[in-house]
Assembly symmetry: C3
Homo-oligomer: 129 residues x 3
């Protein structure tokens, strides 16, 4: 459980970090709340946060559900790929939104793998470990 908790909390803190970058970008690019448009560089950072939100809500349950059936080290390993994928995504998106594919695949891949790694044994009625 420990490896899974560690990776899950790193994913949460990484997401909060992206949120902090959005807050900072509001100042840098002069985008006052409640607006979220009006500056392309701001919107890029905002979209990184939003895309990470979309993925995090899928990653976290998949991570814990997969850990019901598989050794926590494997599960945490998939989560670690996600963490790296998000950094790649962030750097690419801020530089050029059209170059975001690799980082996206490195983030969505582990999520799909974990979700299927939980779904298949659950459907087959395997006993949780």
């Amino acid at each position: 459980m420990n490896h899974v908790d560690a990776v899950a909390m790193l994913a949460v803190l990484q997401f909060i970090g992206f949120g902090a970058l959005v807050g900072k970008a509001r100042g840098t690019y002069g985008v006052k709340a409640p607006a979220v448009t009006g500056s392309e560089p701001f919107e890029r950072i905002y979209r990184v946060q939003m895309n990470t939100l979309e993925l995090l809500v899928a990653l976290l349950p998949a991570l814990y559900a997969a850990a019901h059936y598989w050794p926590s080290l494997y599960v945490a390993g998939a989560g670690a790929v996600y963490l790296v994928g998000r950094i790649v995504y962030w750097r690419a998106y801020v530089a050029s939104p059209s170059s975001r594919s690799l980082g996206f695949l490195l983030s969505i891949g582990p999520i799909l793998a974990l979700a299927l790694a939980a779904l298949v044994p659950a459907l087959l009625g395997k006993t949780p470990i």
Copy 2:
């Protein structure tokens, strides 16, 4: 636990599927990242994904918390209604946003039921099963 894991992972994969539809709609309607506006048909699909994000973040904890107190088959049944409700919502929203009420009620209803099914026994100090 298995039924709950199965329904939870289907909800995660359904959400990822809505995300894939948004990606496809970027191409179809020519909405380049980071923009999320500029084409009504694109915005409809994007709003389905966003609304599902809002509900998924409520559904998943309610599902697992309700399973602390109720048989997993009942809990998973409520989750299955949510899954159908999201399909109804998606089809209605894309056809005409003003017709989205039924699908929304079929999605939010199970979430409220599950959240209360966890909250009430938790407040009463019931022993988790």
Copy 3:
């Protein structure tokens, strides 16, 4: 576990309540779906919901993961601060977006505390309680 479930479900229901306020504001300010812009008062309420979504996706896993290592009463106490913080944030944001800092700090503070309270013991390999 009961205290944690109770606080988690209250956070979920609070978020659904903010969503209901957005739905009501669509009528009050004449913002028809799929639009989410066009009226400043509407956008303020919408941003409260979105910001709460961003925080809830971090709060809930941090709450349950921290409960693996710490007494549930302490964990639930941090969650209760978050719940109050969200009410402060909502009231301040709707009155004046620039006054939202206190409510935000009261919400993000408990989340960071809980995430670290789970991360540190997980990294140290502590046995879950």
